[in-house]
């Protein structure tokens, strides 16, 4: 029984990590090595003469060229990778800040005040999370034409903020509910206004929760594809849309460069996942399960 268990866990670990390891290897290969019919596993950096990197060898000459080339546009695209990365960062960071601020304020209201129909409102907020992007993309597109928001960073920021609100409100409500009310009551007795109390007492105590919520909002904006793809042909294209567009490249899919870009793109998210590992369960279930 124990052996079965070990085999199972090791198998799943391999399946989960090997594709990512392959991504890392691909990013230090040359184009020819990425599409070789004899897979090359072992990066080799010695001089080429002592490196028998023939067609059948499992060794390949490791190179950082793919990373260097990221600052040059791929043939047929107007901008280099960093242009799209910049778009992803601007849109991700702004929408995350907005969602966390609005979400915290809203969660505080629901947590501490009597709001008529508060339960229904909260479930309305939760249900917005299930809205499929493709089902509302047409009206959003028409709306954005009215306000000239199409192809703009602000357009995506607004959308991502609203789509992250459900997560932000529900997660933050859980965190705010956990803050003891004694401090606020004392502050109010001391003559603090409600706003003052919120900023001086609640925000500092909820800061861990806000950081965790921020990470989850950032990840969902960072990874979003449906809206980014359909609302932007040019100006505010994010990295996922850029990579998707490279699939049909006439000179062959530039795999090493895509892999290098992907490494840079997913690296921060791996780091964030490790940072919020204790809160993952909460984050993926909208705070309905707390451990």
């Amino acid at each position: 029984m124990r052996a079965v268990r070990t085999v199972l866990v090791v198998w799943f670990l391999l399946v989960a990590t090997l594709p990512l390891a392959w991504l890392a290897l691909t990013s230090v290969k040359t184009y020819q090595d990425t599409i070789s019919a004899h897979a090359k596993f072992v990066p080799w950096s010695g001089p080429l003469e002592s490196n028998p990197s023939g067609a059948d060898s499992v060794r390949f000459a490791a190179t950082l060229d793919a990373y260097r080339n990221l600052s040059k546009p791929v043939a047929g695209t107007p901008n280099d990778f960093y242009h799209y990365l910049g778009n992803s960062i601007v849109i991700g960071v702004l929408s995350t800040l907005a969602a966390v601020c609005l979400g915290t304020i809203c969660a505080y209201g629901f947590s501490r005040f009597r709001i008529p129909g508060s339960k229904d409102w909260l479930f309305f907020i939760l249900s917005t999370r299930f809205l499929p992007p493709l089902a509302v993309v047409v009206p959003v597109l028409v709306m954005y034409r009215w306000f000239a928001l199409e192809n703009t960073h602000l357009g995506l920021v607004l959308l991502y903020t609203s789509f992250n609100l459900s997560l932000a409100v529900w997660l933050m409500k859980g965190f705010v509910d956990e803050i003891p009310r004694a401090f606020e009551e004392a502050a109010l007795v001391d003559g603090y206004s409600v706003l003052h109390t919120f900023f001086r007492i609640i925000v500092p105590q909820a800061s861990t929760g806000m950081a965790v919520t921020g990470v989850f909002c950032l990840i969902s904006s960072w990874n979003e594809f449906g809206f980014a793809m359909t609302l932007n042909n040019y100006e505010a294209q994010t990295v996922p849309v850029y990579f998707a567009g490279l699939q049909g490249n006439i000179e062959g899919v530039p795999w090493p460069r895509i892999a290098a870009g992907m490494m840079i793109f997913v690296g921060p998210i791996v780091l964030f996942t490790v940072l919020v590992r204790r809160h993952l369960l909460r984050g993926v279930t909208f705070g309905t399960i707390k451990q």
């Binding site: 268990r5 199972l8 866990v9 799943f12 670990l13 989960a16 990512l20 392959w22 991504l23 599409i35 019919a37 609005l102 809203c106 209201g109 629901f110 947590s111 501490r112 005040f113 009597r114 709001i115 409102w121 309305f124 907020i125 939760l126 299930f130 809205l131 499929p132 992007p133 493709l134 089902a135 509302v136 993309v137 047409v138 009206p139 028409v142 903020t161 609203s162 609100l165 009310r181 009551e185 109010l188 409600v194 990874n223 594809f225 449906g226 990295v239 996922p240 990579f243 699939q247 795999w255 793109f265 997913v266 998210i269 791996v270 590992r277 993952l280 993926v284 279930t285 309905t288 399960i289």
Partner: protein, 304 residues
């Protein structure tokens, strides 16, 4: 509820008004960006609107007549249904088995858990684009590994019978750890005294699993299934990245909308498709919301 409120001094504005001030900004944004487009979408589905912005005319139920008579509609419905059914059930079973394996003391458990959970946090489109390289029938690493052990090496990405399998595979690869995470929470919530009592009663292993472990995990498993099902219903990203939106053998409802609106420029018909997918999502989401309410009540009772 009562103890959650403030006793605000009489001079201050009534508590509910201040509360409304706190919740209003978020709610307004949601109404503008989510609720309004949803209603607007229903209106558009009764018009002949196109993306060029020409004059819009009401056409009654014309778009729906077209939609329900399309072969592509039945096809998209089947593909989506199949995708939801297979992905969610395989992920559930595998995730639960994995959770059972991870349940007891495993050396380095925290590290293993974190590593397993990384793929589901990464960008689905980016990961599936890379899977294209792995699954490539001619030079992909998967087929090379299969050749090593003398197994058949099918064309994962171009064989009509296998395209959907490939997309399902990537989805299952990403999301099985999600089911594991929630299953583990369910398993951990079972108090050990119940197992001790079963041991005293000499209940068999299968008996313990069937009458203690499974039923006590069921509420959380239900939550996980509903969360995944609503996501799977909207499946778009993987289809776009792996086969593109037009391929009939993998065309989900969302991919069909993309084709209708952005390739055929039929906004009205696209909106009608949007309404169809909304009905499905709202149905599942309603069950989900009721379910959370029920779980909340249960938790409340358990704590009281």
């Amino acid at each position: 509820m009562k103890r959650n409120e403030f006793r605000v001094r009489p001079r201050a504005a009534p508590s509910s008004l201040i509360g409304a001030g706190f919740v209003a900004p978020a709610l307004l944004l949601l109404v503008a960006m989510n609720l309004f487009p949803l209603i607007f979408n229903i209106y558009l589905s009764f018009t002949n609107a196109d993306l060029s912005g020409g004059p819009v005319k009401m056409v009654g139920g014309h778009n729906y007549t077209v939609l329900f008579n399309e072969a592509r509609y039945a096809n998209a419905l089947t593909v989506t249904g199949l995708f939801v059914l297979v992905s969610v059930s395989v992920e559930l079973v595998l995730g639960f088995v994995l959770a059972m394996a991870m349940r007891d003391r495993v050396p380095g458990k925290a590290v293993i858990l974190t590593v397993l959970l990384i793929p589901m946090m990464l960008c689905p489109v980016v990961l599936s684009l890379f899977w294209n390289l792995i699954l490539n029938g001619n030079y992909g690493i998967l087929n090379q590994l299969l050749a090593l052990v003398h197994l058949p090496q099918p064309q994962w990405l171009t064989d009509d019978d296998l395209k959907l399998v490939s997309i399902l595979f990537v989805d299952i690869w990403m999301w099985t750890p999600f089911m594991m995470l929630i299953s583990l929470a369910g398993l951990n919530s079972i108090p050990s005294y119940i197992y001790e009592a079963a041991e005293i009663d000499r209940a068999g292993r299968w008996m313990v699993f069937r009458s203690i472990t499974l039923p006590m995990c069921a509420p959380l498993l239900g939550l996980a299934v509903l969360l995944r099902a609503t996501d799977a219903l909207k499946q778009f990203d993987l289809v776009m990245a792996i086969t593109g939106p037009n391929d009939a053998s993998t065309q989900t409802l969302s991919a069909r909308i993309y084709q209708v609106v952005f390739r055929d420029y039929k906004v009205g018909l696209g909106s009608a498709y949007g309404v169809v997918i909304l009905v499905a999502v709202i149905a599942v989401a309603t069950i989900f919301v009721r379910y959370i309410e029920m779980l909340g009540r249960r938790q409340g009772k358990a704590e009281a």
